[in-house]
Amino acid sequence: MFGDYSIGDLGSIFVMQGFAGLILFSVYVLMALGLAIIFGQMGVINMAHGEFMILGAYVTWMTSNLFQSYLPGLFSGYFFVAMMLAFLASGALGMLVEWGLIRHLYKRPLDTLLATWGLSLILQQAYRSVFGAREVGVELPQWMLGSLKVTDSIEVPINGIFVMGLTVSITCAVAYVIYKSRWGRQVRAVVQNRIMAGAVGINTEKVDRYTYGLGCGIAGIAGSAFTMIGSTGPTSGQLYIVDTFLVVVFGGAASLLGTIASAFSISQTQSTLEFFMSGSMAKVLTLLAVVGILMLRPQGLFSLKVRK
């Protein structure tokens, strides 16, 4: 397939393909981060993760409409406001859900799967009733569109760079919060031994609620960012949920580093394979590889060593 092309052409295609892989990697990390916190730290299988993302997307859509009508001068910067609002909205809904639903199910982790799946159906229908069944188009400020011309033949999509930057900063922030802050220490203490953590004076209920809220809030930011590359409709969240679980489970549930490593390996495998064969076949081979590795290493790539 490369016979007819010059070395220069091929070189620039490989550079762009490398970027495509990195962008896919960032998208996967962003998708999976919220779930990794909830699944990894709390053991809750959150099937409604995609719907929390789409809430963020709808918040972004509403913010863009508001800015267009009332603050057209500031439109170019609305996206940052939208991401903050998306974080707050999804986080608040997450905390509400934790209070009303999840906390009653901590002792029955498999039931959280069913409960949150039901929640995802309820949320989908709620979005459909409120925003309509059709997809909405989120308008982006001009500077976020198009691509950056590095050389004559190498072009890098600006929204891809934006997602990469966002992923790096959010990952760093989460790593700091979980591993360095006082609150993060409490979270990890609750994960390791809930009863002892309670005995030394940690308010475990409060920690749970905020952890769940943080995970959902990050899902909201991800949803907000994905309005740049995907669709915003009542069921769009379903498009992400399978890949998200794949990344988290493959990485090893309780490990942030595992999530990143797993997102990296899956995205690179997939984007390389996609280039040499058709999209569906690439997906099949990627999934087969993941299944194979999980059979040999059921705990995922990285796992936390906890004394049970």
């Binding site: 393909q17 970027f19 998208v27 059709r134 997809e135 188009g137 999209g279």
Partner: protein, 419 residues
């Protein structure tokens, strides 16, 4: 968004009129049709359908919930509009159409079950419904077994024909061939890159398109790619497109993937005013989600655009917007949904009966001169004769008509040499 049509003045007006005996004579001069003046029920209904002296019942069967609701909402709206207009014009054989709406919920077995319910319990005279090929394939054995009549609105892959189905959308050769001919002639296109979602319709359509490109246009297909339904990452295939530099990108990506594909295409610096792209899956409905700025310049090939400039369409579009809101857009399938109830009404009147066997036999040759797309006629194979048109997407989400075939194109669900 509310699903209830704006009822306007009707019910308060009626209440006022009914308040006193003095109002009684007024009722007769109201411009509302009276029903019950048609031929006797025993003669128009010999098979026990839900037909009374004043009413006839039809079913509407689409997904109002689930992932397909995005697409099927337009069809439901169009069918309700057509039924309301037919009733306002005196109904069918002197009878008012009453509809029972069932929700297929984007789930194919549910479609089959609900179709059975409509035919067996409700004894509907016809069903307007289905959208995806999968739902039609699920319903087909049911309408054949219980001898129902299905009006199916979506453009589809062909390779099917049934006494019990009228296909009001285009089959694949009707939709694709004229568009490929046009772009080959207009753009001098020789190389094509196909990209589609991975299921029966894109695969069959691309197979037909490939044969046409290779055998008739003497061009070359430089790539053919399929992505799983719901895929949101297209950067790799966009790089392949950049590498192969095709004259035309030919796409039949559907659903949420569409949005991702066009957004990423734009972000990758592919300028659709320079790179020709021909799609058979993007209507005005999809552009709502994609955003006009992401797809402006692309060509779409189908039979109807909301912007069509003809007298029928100029009354249809305002009527639709009046019923469903100023912001609603009307895509190809929505228009085809609108044809269903009208074609059924015209066929009933031609047959002088609601009996399914008589309607199936009388369908061939029925013509609908008020169709928003211009004019349609039912072929012996139960598909429609229709024109094929090419439109170019504009920033505001509408299409500008660029080309239309001079004559109606004959539907050919089993095309020779294309299978």
């Amino acid at each position: 968004m509310s699903d209830e049509p704006n009822k306007g003045l009707r019910s308060p007006l009626r209440r006022k009129l009914l308040m006193g005996a003095a109002a009684l004579p007024l009722v007769s001069i109201l411009p509302r049709p009276s029903f019950g003046a048609g031929p006797a029920t025993a003669t128009v209904n010999t098979t026990g359908l839900a037909v009374t002296d004043t009413e006839v019942t039809v079913g509407i069967l689409h997904s109002a919930t689930g992932t397909m609701a995005i697409s099927e909402t337009g069809s439901i709206q169009a069918e309700k509009l057509a039924i309301e207009q037919i009733n306002a014009a005196g109904g069918v054989l002197g009878r008012k159409i009453k509809f029972i709406q069932e929700d297929g919920a984007s789930d194919w077995p549910t479609f089959a079950e609900k179709a059975k319910k409509l035919l067996v319990n409700d004894k509907v005279a016809a069903i307007m419904g289905c959208w995806t090929s999968a739902s039609r394939k699920a319903v087909l054995p049911v309408v054949e077994q219980y001898n129902g009549m299905l009006y199916y609105p979506t453009f589809y892959e062909g390779l099917e024909q049934s006494k019990n189905v009228i296909y009001t959308g285009q089959e694949a050769t009707q939709q694709i061939l004229a568009g490929l001919n046009w772009i080959a002639k207009e753009k001098g296109a020789k190389s094509f890159f196909f990209i589609g979602s991975d299921y029966i319709w894109p695969r069959t359509s691309n197979k037909i398109a490939r044969k046409h490109v290779e055998n008739v246009l003497k061009g070359k297909v430089v790539g053919e790619e399929y992505y799983a339904l719901g895929s949101t990452q297209f950067n790799s295939v966009i790089n392949k497109i950049k590498l192969t530099k095709p004259d035309v990108i030919f796409t039949d990506v559907v659903g949420g993937s569409n949005v991702a594909f066009y957004k990423q295409l734009k972000a990758a610096g592919v300028d659709l005013s320079k790179q020709a792209l021909l799609t058979i899956s993007v209507t005005e409905d999809e552009i709502d989600g994609i955003g006009g700025e992401n797809i402006a310049g692309a060509y779409a090939c189908m039979k109807y655009f909301q912007s069509l400039d003809n007298a029928n369409n100029k009354t249809f579009v305002p009527a639709f917007k009046k019923m469903w809101g100023e912001k609603t857009v009307i895509g190809d399938v929505t228009q085809a949904g609108y044809l269903g109830p009208w074609l059924w009404k015209l066929t009933c009147e031609k047959a002088g009966s609601f009996d399914v066997d008589k309607i199936a036999a009388a369908s061939a040759g029925v013509e609908f001169k008020e169709a928003p797309e211009g004019y349609v006629r039912i072929h012996e194979n139960h598909h429609l004769w229709s024109k094929t048109r090419v439109g170019r997407a504009k920033l505001d989400g509408q299409f500008e008509l660029i080309f239309e075939t001079a004559d109606l194109i004959e539907p050919d669900p089993f095309p020779k040499g294309y299978q």
